[in-house]
């Protein structure tokens, strides 16, 4: 059963994408969209139960373990939320002419093709397939980022495809080097399977694995938005259609982190845990520090969220870098927390931008008066992103901090805390100014659309629940995933 699911899961979004091409009716397309995402979510939950009972499964080039499952669950939930959000968002975008009615089916088809490539990156056991699927995500999402077809969108899409393709070339180079080291040990039975390489990892030549890991980290780190390779990220996240921004920020950059974790485990087994952790720590710190001034000085709401993703990817890298059970568990929890919260933030920001017809935060005022529910959700998302208790991000940031203290790495902790506090103040300043005050005359007073609110409420509930308690089954997945990394 679980083995069958491994090849059915990537097929679901693929078939959905193909079905999209058969119709032009907006209602039908939206129904298909939601149905496809719902099937994906249900099957993912079934797979989660199967893996809980029977452990990791593999089939050909695919493999699922608890580590991949966490990312898969995040993807499924966000895809469903995005589908629901799209219904109301699309109606508004069609009215103002941001989307064109005759090209809708290609948009929906691309979104699901994008989801399909992400599913393959998560399930890929073969490191070559992982790379191919990762480049696949670049190709599909590049078209989506430039979908509006205006000057800025096309510029962002071009920058994205060039920068990430440069980066990912390094990723393939790192993969080839690790594969060479592995086939040197495995002889004629050589394969690019992560599980197979892991089984011989302690025997690999540490010097070569080190070089391979650096290349892989720089390569997939570009895709993950780690500074200083993050140059594409604020542009792409701010120019993409809002549902795509949510997927990029919520899932795609997390999947690149999954790829990094795969290489981290190989490197840790071959040359000790110290080396990969040190490298991740450095990139994590650079990301947190680089993102801060841009967050403070930002005027564009979606760019703000983009830079904020750089900060949080940095925090996840810090968690992995501090290592140990707590740091790794915290990093994985942060992957989920940030994914859910950031998607919520993009949704809320997207509706606010549509209402005021501007991305400039100084022109968005008094959201609470014109759209009380949306404003509340935006404020909740901002509070959570800033790391206020009792929201989920507070918990995972605390775990990362705790791991750092356990390591006694005071310099890193000081920098991390300082930046988090500065960003906390900056973010709440921006959010407060938008939510409160007198609404500007330009603000639309239309009632809030239902489907975006429904999608946001779904994510907000998950965000709040994860802040108060971690459900036992999910905790189990996280713990076993931590064991995969830490051993």
């Amino acid at each position: 059963m679980a083995e069958t699911l491994l090849w059915v899961l990537p097929l679901v979004p693929t078939v959905t994408a193909l079905l999209m091409l058969t119709t032009r009716k907006r209602i039908l397309l939206s129904c298909l969209d939601i149905a496809g995402s719902a099937v994906l979510t249900v099957l993912t939950l079934v797979l989660a139960c199967e893996v809980t009972d029977g452990g990791p499964r593999s089939l050909g080039v695919f493999r699922v373990d608890d580590l991949g499952l966490i990312f898969l669950l995040l993807l499924a939930v966000l895809t469903l939320a995005v589908s629901i959000y799209t219904v109301g968002w699309l109606k508004q975008a069609l009215e103002v002419g941001n989307m064109k009615a005759d090209s809708l089916r290609s948009y929906f088809a691309l979104v699901h093709a994008f989801v399909a490539t992400i599913v393959v990156t998560i399930l890929a056991d073969n490191l070559g397939i992982l790379w191919i699927a990762m480049e696949g995500t670049t190709i599909t999402s590049a078209i989506l980022i430039g979908y509006h077809g205006h000057h800025h969108g096309l510029e962002a899409a071009w920058k994205y495809i060039i920068v990430t393709t440069i980066g990912i070339s390094f990723g393939l180079f790192g993969t080839v080097i690790i594969y060479a080291a592995a086939s040197h040990v495995m002889g004629s039975a050589s394969s690019m399977s992560w599980a197979a390489i892991m089984s011989v990892a302690p025997k690999l030549d540490p010097g070569i694995v080190r070089i391979g890991f650096i290349f892989a980290l720089v390569g997939y780190g570009t895709k993950a938005g780690l500074a200083p390779m993050h140059l594409w990220l604020p542009d792409a996240h701010s120019q993409a259609p809002t549902p795509v921004s949510a997927l990029l920020s919520g899932v795609l950059i997390k999947c690149a982190l999954l790829a990094i974790i795969r290489f981290q485990t190989i490197a840790a087994a071959a040359c000790g845990t110290e080396f990969p952790q040190q490298v991740l720590l450095v990139f994590g710190l650079i990301s947190v520090v680089v993102a801060t001034p841009f967050i403070l000085a930002q005027h564009d709401l979606k760019r703000l969220l983009g830079y904020h993703s750089v900060e949080h990817v940095g925090i996840i890298a810090l968690g992995l870098g501090f290592g140990g059970t707590i740091g790794t568990y915290g990093a994985l929890l942060h992957v989920v927390n940030h994914g859910i919260t950031k998607a919520l933030a993009f949704f809320a920001a997207g509706t606010a931008i549509a209402r005021y017809d501007t991305r400039d935060m100084q022109a968005i005022r008094g959201l609470l008066t014109v759209a009380p529910i949306g404003a509340t959700l935006l404020m909740l998302a901002a509070l959570s992103l800033a790391g206020v208790p009792p929201f989920s991000i507070f918990i995972s940031e605390l775990m990362v901090l705790r791991a750092g203290i356990g390591q006694g790495d005071w310099v890193s902790i000081t920098i991390f805390l300082l930046m988090v506090v500065i960003i906390f103040a900056g973010l709440l300043h921006h959010a407060g100014a938008m939510v409160f005050g007198e609404p500007t005359a330009a603000a639309s007073r239309e009632p809030e659309a239902r489907s975006p609110l429904l999608a946001m409420l779904l994510l907000a509930v998950i965000m709040i629940v994860l802040g108060l308690t971690i459900p036992a089954s999910f905790d189990g997945h996280l713990k076993r995933a931590t064991e995969v990394i830490v051993d």
């Binding site: 590049a142 078209i143 000057h151 510029e155 390094f170 180079f173």
Partner: protein, 218 residues
Amino acid sequence: MNIATVHSIIDDLGALLLFTMILIVAASQISRAIYAVATQSLFIALAGAVLATATGNVDLWVIAGITLIVKAMVLPWLLHWVVRRMDVKREVEPVIPDMATLALAVVIVVMSFHLSASLGSVRQSITGNALPVGIALTLNGVLVMATRKTALSQMVGLFAAENGIFFTAMAVTEGMPLIIEIGVILDVILAALVMTIMVLRVRSTVDADIADLDRLRG
């Protein structure tokens, strides 16, 4: 073929590959860069064929054939088509001066030989000095992508980098598994197509060159 012959043929091809790479970096006209990268792909396909004969590895024959058709013929033809279609008047437009790029390229080649020394133990004896050449091609391809403003030059850089990775894989493991190699080439084709579509789209919708898009900052 005995090992010494294969060894020397691969070394000769490696020298030719480096020469085509320098031509790409130094090309002042986009059409010359396209011819250079097509020639480079041809040499890569030849190297694959030589290695296939020497090792009896059928997969390598397939890969050499695909490389010849796709990278030495179809993709360069696509780039030439775009050049004619768009009536490109602007040439490569480096971000930094040509001489600086060439100097960087030389530094990269020297660095590659150093780097390959530390990768010594996985080197396949049969491919001789292929490893540093592969690394140099990859990094120089990336250099071209990073230091050119025009879309077509960046695509040429991408193809060169992919050639380099391919050559590296041959140098260390007799190539990646066939299915992976095909997937990688498929990705490169798709990326090239999407980039081409974007180039044409930028021209038709906002009437500008990709190189002129620089409004997003901060």
